[in-house]
């Protein structure tokens, strides 16, 4: 596959003049991300850490070539921002914003899929390819290049796991934080399919959590032999009571769906080792 992102990916930051947008633009630039322009309506002519700012993506694209977008726009305005990125054919569109109404995400993802555009998120930490690029807020210094992909519904838990891998001498090929909302542009199944085609990845750590049925669907895919790269799983939220949202709005048990035990059982029956503690992940990876 053409890698989702790499060191040559040219990026537009939407919401670049906000405090989060500007702070993480700086960190992305330091990591080596090729940020060509920023967009905030009404801020044409400004600069953020040397990056020129435009009112619209269209006007930015007149001056720069760009492939992808990272969205830091507040929830209230995020629907339009993502729509604008889809309209201008940017891909992937990495949506960091938390709190976008789920029905909006549902409509955005449908539009994006029709055009073959990848949305990552919303409510996600983004994508990082060690020593090449990062689109989002994942801290770069904990990574070491290698062949383990980390796919996760969580941010900080991903950092915890990546650090544990690095400390055990297991480098990473890519980290994708798919996000914590109930509906996301790329779910765990779709992310794993992308990774299956990713030449630099040999093994996968899949970090799921309470809520939804994606983990069960992943297990099904592995059983059918459609995913051949070995996977180690971790499921967060075994302490979650039914009906309560555990921080992520997608982390909720509704009726029978979403229970962590069902996810763990599904993985185990597909022969996927499930770590009970984060610290067990490196050893389980070495064993597969």
């Amino acid at each position: 596959m053409k890698s989702l992102v790499d060191k040559d990916t040219r990026v537009i930051v939407q919401g670049i003049t906000g405090s989060e947008g500007s702070f993480h633009t700086k960190l992305m630039l330091e990591y080596g991300t090729k940020i060509v322009a920023g967009v905030t309506p009404g801020k044409y002519g400004h600069q953020v850490h040397g990056v020129p700012v435009y009112d619209t993506i269209e006007s930015a694209l007149k001056e720069h070539e760009a492939d992808a977008s990272v969205v830091f726009v507040p929830a209230r305005f995020a629907y339009n921002a993502v729509l604008e990125a889809i309209y201008n054919d940017l891909s992937p569109i990495v949506v960091i914003t938390e709190g976008i109404p789920t029905w909006d995400t549902l409509r955005l993802v449908r539009l994006a899929k029709r055009k073959g555009i990848h949305i990552i998120g919303p409510n996600c930490p983004g994508i990082l390819v060690p020593n090449e690029t990062k689109l989002g807020i994942i801290p770069g210094h904990i990574f070491k290049p290698g062949d383990v992909a980390v796919i996760s519904r969580s941010g900080t838990l991903t950092y915890e796991i990546v650090e544990a891998l690095s400390n055990s001498g297991l480098g990473q090929s890519i980290a994708i934080g798919v996000g914590g909302d109930p509906i996301r542009g790329t779910n765990l199944v779709e992310a794993l399919k992308l990774i299956e085609e990713h030449p630099k990845t040999k093994k996968v750590v899949l970090v799921g959590e309470v809520g939804g049925v994606e983990e069960e669907m992943v297990a099904e895919l592995i059983k059918k032999g459609e995913i051949t790269k070995p996977v180690v799983a971790y499921i967060a939220g075994r302490s979650a009571p039914p009906g309560k949202t555990m921080g992520h709005s997608g982390a909720i048990i509704l009726g029978e769906a979403g229970k962590p035990e069902s996810k763990i059982r599904a993985f185990e029956s597909a022969g996927v080792p499930v770590a009970r503690l984060v610290t067990e992940i490196p050893d389980l990876l070495k064993g597969i």
Binding site: E20, A75, S152, E160, E163, V210, R238, G243, S249
Partner: protein, 382 residues
Amino acid sequence: MFLYEHEGKMLFHQNGISIPKGRVVYSPNEAINAAKEIGFPVVLKPQILGGKRGKAGAIRFANNEEETLKIARELFNMELYGEKIERLLVEKKVDIAHEYYLSLTVDFYSRKPILIFSTEGGISIEEVAKEKPHLIEKRYLDPDIGLTPFIAIGVLNKLGISGESAKKFVKIFTNLWKLFEGNDLFLAEINPLVLTKQGDVIALDARVVVDDNAQIRRAWIGELKSKRTGKESLEIQAKKLGISFVILEGNIGVIGNGAGLTMATCDTILELGGKPANFLDIGGGAGPERVASAIDLIMKLGNIKVILINIFGGITRADNVAKGIISAIQTLNLKIPIVVRLRGTNEEIGREMLQSVGINAYTDMIEAVKKAIEIVKGGNEK
């Protein structure tokens, strides 16, 4: 957010779905007045957010004032599925000819709404699916088309309801769709939907779940939240401070940053033999004030033996966390031991600050969890 039955029914009523005449009451005396106003016989239904009330024998009928008073007193003294009963819905009893099931759900996996209809209502749809799957009709809907009359009639025909009979239901289907799509709902379930002996179609129950994220454009969600009481009000109060808070049942107070890491912290406590008292995510980039309010919230739970704080800072700065912990210890005059695990941005500064108040922060999460459990089991070492 889950809605109470009476809140869901209010939405139904506002969107042209018939419900029985009824009133919410907060005391046995109010129940009598409501029953008199509505007219006997009445049904008294405890308003709780989870569980099966019918199976627990908590849905009761009354034919006169005496019975109403007796039953209301009993119900107000009950606890159902861990919830104290604080309000009852008193409703006119309906003459049921047949019970159906109707729901609209957002299917997160397919990213599509699903319509489910069954001619077998009044019991859980999972049971019907197991025993009489041929009596259920399930359709994925295209959100751009919605639930139109022709789709509704198609579904009804499939289950043998046609002609004049089908027409009676169509309005309920399309009105439920309008409510569902126009209010950012995750679930709108009517079970049972009844055909009365008089030939009316009425929603006897309402299970509604709304997307919390939609509060930015739906003022009514915030209004309902502000009326919540008990445990839930603490959780809602936390949300206003930017804190995600869920009360659990143990004695180890938990604070983390990021939902996943905080869940993993609670899980690790369970895994190693302890019991988390709560889930509390201080969110990204929390300043000292938010950390101090987090500790304050947890102390309101009572029965806390130790507080475990697990931070892997990216946007969140470790020195801000340390500042918050110190200020909470001082202003709340905290006597409870605090175990801290600190990693990430400005870790060294945070660590030194904590040392000045006698807290040695851990770098390893598992060690910190073990220490917290040891304190609960062993004694009160700081």
